[in-house]
């Protein structure tokens, strides 16, 4: 039988802007072909810039923001939709092919009720009557596990949570009974315990409605739960294309293997965890007169070791880092560093106290000044704390660049000329230049592609071995904790849920939240989702 969707030699171009503002054409998708049968799910996976979203949107004959489809065919039931008139395309979009965006919060119109938006496409295309569509929407809300399916549609987008919006968007896509849905990273913006529920809801909905789907993500473990086949993309080209089981269990290409094997960095946790470099006792804090965001947190970091602080958004983990640095003075409790109590306020701390604690940020893009060269960025702490000038400083900068594996030729570049991973390395070198005892790492790898993140992690581990620096590593990713931590602190709603040596903290018996958190982390095997859901003790908090 003929396939539902046949993509042949798809080529997509975009404008790129040079430094001087002149425009240049670049090809971002370079001849992709695949087939999708009715009712099957194809996973498109790749790093940022691989062209996966662009390919997904091409299934709706749409090019986002200056992107144009320059060649090839996209055949839906044998008909090339790229050759259709605008009216013809309008009859395909929202009727036969639907789209689920990454950020449902931005994709819903704030001025209209969710229910009206969910059925709008179905009504405009004349697929159902209004009452049929309403009933259908309520049914879908139920399948997707939304609260009060009958009345959920009466709410406005700002009145429901992010996870609920993402499900509502899925309902909107399913409503007209389309042949194909394009899911564009639908769970990426969600917390891990929310992600698992939304993922399960999407999977159930796909199965019950029998629609075909393109599922786009950068997370191989996630796509392994929903896809029948997987296509691995890199720089707009196909790396590997095959059944899910083969891709994750027997990848043929080196790049696919690297994606599957990512996070192999691992070190045994230190056994002796006495002798605290940093000790927090009874820390509470709030922003201004707002509600308390940290309540009675006590923990310590042994010298030369790594403490991982794990939690979801709103758990207070980043706030804890702000307290340690002095950016947010605590309302109660003490911070002791190397035996002496640190003043709560930044302004009260001595230059040497500031030097000993350095911070690495999540977004390397905004963490380094775009108008300073690499040498200026790394050289400033050398000058500021150690009074180094001229040749001595230049040589030390080069030493540090060697240490972060960037070598010659980078000193005079500006951040705009560096990749994301390189920028993060420069930020690490800037922290090292101060000669700190402790480095706070605030999710330094979460904005990076997995392979790049892996490189940053192993660099951090090597630097710890070489310099004996301690880390407080803030993350939402349990896999990273397993890889690098000596001790672990789990946070929930501003309270410490669990704290102790790594192997103890990550072994049973668990408290309910830690159990939920651990079971929500996608694992790279088929059937993980069902196992995880059935073995779970509590549901995530109604998200």
């Amino acid at each position: 039988m003929a396939d539902l969707l046949e993509v042949r030699d798809l080529k997509i171009g975009a404008h790129a802007y040079e430094e001087d503002g002149s425009r240049r054409e670049i090809e971002i998708v370079k001849g992709i072909s695949f087939d999708l049968e009715k009712g099957r799910v194809l996973g498109l996976i790749g790093e940022s810039g691989a062209g996966k979203s662009t390919i997904g949107l091409a299934a709706l004959a749409y090019g986002r923001g200056g992107v144009t489809i320059t060649g090839g065919q996209v055949r839906l039931d044998g008909e090339d939709i790229l050759a259709l008139s605008p009216r013809g395309i309008g009859r395909v979009r929202g009727a036969r092919v639907c789209y689920v965006a990454q950020s449902a919060a931005a994709a819903f119109n704030p001025a209209h009720k969710l229910g009206d938006q969910v059925i709008e496409g179905t009504l405009r295309h004349g697929i159902m009557s209004k009452s049929e569509a309403r009933a259908r929407a309520a049914e879908l809300f139920g399948i997707l596990g939304l609260p009060d399916p009958e009345t959920f549609g009466n709410r406005y987008p700002h009145q429901v949570s992010g996870g609920q919006l993402q499900r509502a968007m899925t309902a909107m896509a399913l409503c007209p009974r389309p042949d194909l849905i394009v899911f564009d990273e639908p769970t990426t913006a969600l917390d891990v315990t929310t992600q698992i529920d939304v993922l399960a809801a999407i999977k159930r909905a796909i199965e019950e409605t029998g629609t075909a789907a393109l599922y786009i993500t950068h997370d191989l473990a996630v796509v392994a739960q929903v896809a029948d086949d997987i296509m691995v993309l890199r720089h707009g080209e196909t790396v590997e294309y095959g059944p899910t089981r083969q891709i994750i269990e027997a990848p043929e290409e080196g790049y696919t293997r690297a994606l599957v094997d990512v996070r192999t960095t691992s070190k045994p946790a230190a056994t002796d965890q006495s002798g605290a470099l940093l000790r927090l006792e009874g820390i509470s804090a709030s922003y201004g007169s707002g509600p308390q965001v940290l309540t009675d947190v006590s923990l310590h970091v042994p010298r030369g070791q790594t403490l991982a602080i794990v939690g979801e958004s709103g758990s207070g983990k980043s706030t804890l880092a702000r307290v340690i640095t002095g950016l947010l003075p605590q309302s109660a409790g003490t911070v002791t560093f190397d035996g002496e109590t640190l003043p709560p306020r930044l302004a009260q701390r001595s230059k040497d106290q500031l030097r000993q604690i350095q911070l690495i940020y999540q977004m390397a893009d905004t963490a380094v000044n775009p108008r300073h060269t690499v040498a200026q960025i790394i050289g400033r702490p050398l000058r500021f704390y150690h009074g180094m000038r001229g040749k001595a400083r230049r040589e030390r900068v080069q030493e540090l660049l060697d240490q972060i594996e960037m070598g010659q030729g980078f000193a005079d570049r500006y951040p705009a000329e560096l990749s994301g991973g390189q920028k993060q390395r420069v930020a690490i070198a800037r922290a090292l230049a101060a000669g700190p005892e402790l480095i706070l790492c605030d999710e330094p790898t979460s904005a990076l592609d997995p392979l790049v993140a892996e490189g940053i992690l192993s660099l951090l581990m090597r630097l710890q071995k070489e310099t004996g620096v301690s880390y407080v590593f803030i993350t939402h990713d349990i896999a990273i904790v397993r890889a690098i931590a000596d001790s672990v602190a789990v946070m929930l709603n501003g309270r410490l849920q669990r704290f102790g040596p790594r192997d103890e903290a990550l072994s049973p018996p668990f408290d309910d939240y830690t159990d939920l958190l651990l079971k929500s982390v996608p694992e790279m095997k088929e059937g993980w989702l069902e196992e995880a859901l059935s073995s779970r003790r509590i549901a995530s908090g109604g998200q």
Partner: protein, 330 residues
């Protein structure tokens, strides 16, 4: 998601009402602060009125006489509260130059100025918003570029230049419009409209370019939001997308644009009235400034500022009312 409304809810008032009351209170506060600035702040400036008023002929005796005559020897706060108390009741004292009642003069001229501004607004607002939408419809195409260049030039033209250009051609060369734009009480509405044709044209030309550019920018920013893309990907037609999805969200920014430009229009009348010798507030104020007739200057300043503050307040209140997050709290 931030929820600015929760505070109001707890006190039992809907958040929209709370915010609007806050905005009204703020405007009142602002008006009082402006009155302080115009009255007390001005007196705190170096140099005293009596000697600037007398200019070259200022002898110590004359200064003392004038100071006493105008009541400037009494404490500033006493005079401020008297002035404010009077202003609230519509009494702005007497003119130093003519000895006439300021309020009587203003009441006639304020009507003339508002009439001029209102007629200009009635023409300019729909035209500018329409042109702005047209530019968005044909964005980056010829019509848009043309509108862009013409409007860029137009925002650079001083009102008096446009005014004299129109006079030279339409009043002097072709003789199709009257100059100067004199109006008096016995004129009919039609006669009045004829008399102010040129000043209105000047104001419209000057204000339309600004308003159109801002409308275009406001709509473009909405058209680039993701929910418009969602509508497009649902196969919703262009017209319905604009009416149903863009328009409800465009109300607040467009009202803001209009209010800002109406405020600009109110100031624009000052110059246009001088050019066309039109008996309005602007002309009155400029004349008073030249002869340093402070009661008139302060009264006119306060009224212009009040109109400006009022327009901005209306714009803010419309934005509050148009915000679905505030209208439908969690």
């Amino acid at each position: 998601m931030s929820d600015a409304s929760s505070g109001g809810q707890r006190r039992g008032l809907p958040p929209v009402a709370t915010l609007i009351l806050q905005r009204l209170g703020l405007s009142a506060l602002l008006l009082i602060a402006v009155s302080l600035l115009i009255f007390v702040g001005i007196e705190a400036l170096p140099g005293d009125f009596a000697s600037t008023y007398l200019g070259q002929s200022a002898t110590p005796q004359a200064i003392a006489n004038i100071t006493a005559e105008l009541g400037l020897d009494r404490p500033i706060w006493t005079r401020y509260f008297e002035w404010l108390g009077g202003a609230v009741q519509g009494d702005f004292g007497t003119s130093w130059a003519s000895g006439q009642d300021v309020s009587a003069q203003i009441s006639r001229r304020l009507g003339n100025s508002l009439f001029l501004a209102a007629v200009a607004a009635v023409i300019a607002v729909p035209l500018a918003v329409g042109l702005g939408m047209l530019a968005v419809r044909y964005v980056d195409r010829l019509a848009d570029r043309l509108i862009n260049i013409v409007s860029l030039a137009a925002i650079s033209l001083p009102e008096f230049f446009v005014g004299y250009l129109l006079i030279l051609f339409f009043a002097v060369k072709f003789g199709v419009a009257p100059f100067p734009a004199t109006v008096y009480d016995s004129m009919s509405l039609g006669e009045r409209l004829g008399a102010i044709a040129l000043p209105v044209a000047t104001l419209v030309l000057v204000v339309i370019a600004h308003m159109m550019r801002m409308t275009r920018a406001a709509i473009l920013s909405i058209m680039s939001s993701q929910y418009i893309e969602t509508a497009e990907l649902k196969g919703i037609g262009a017209l319905r997308t604009i009416i149903h999805h863009a328009a409800p969200n465009a109300v607040a920014p467009i009202v803001n644009v209009v209010a800002l430009n109406l405020a600009y229009l109110v100031v624009g009348v000052v110059v246009v009235e001088v050019v066309f010798v039109y008996p309005g507030m602007g002309q009155y104020m400029v004349d008073a400034v030249t002869v340093r007739d402070m009661p008139v200057v302060q009264a006119c300043g306060l009224i212009f500022a009040a109109v400006y503050i009022l327009l901005n307040m209306v714009a803010d209140i419309v934005s509050i009312l148009a915000n679905p997050r505030l209208r439908h709290p969690r």
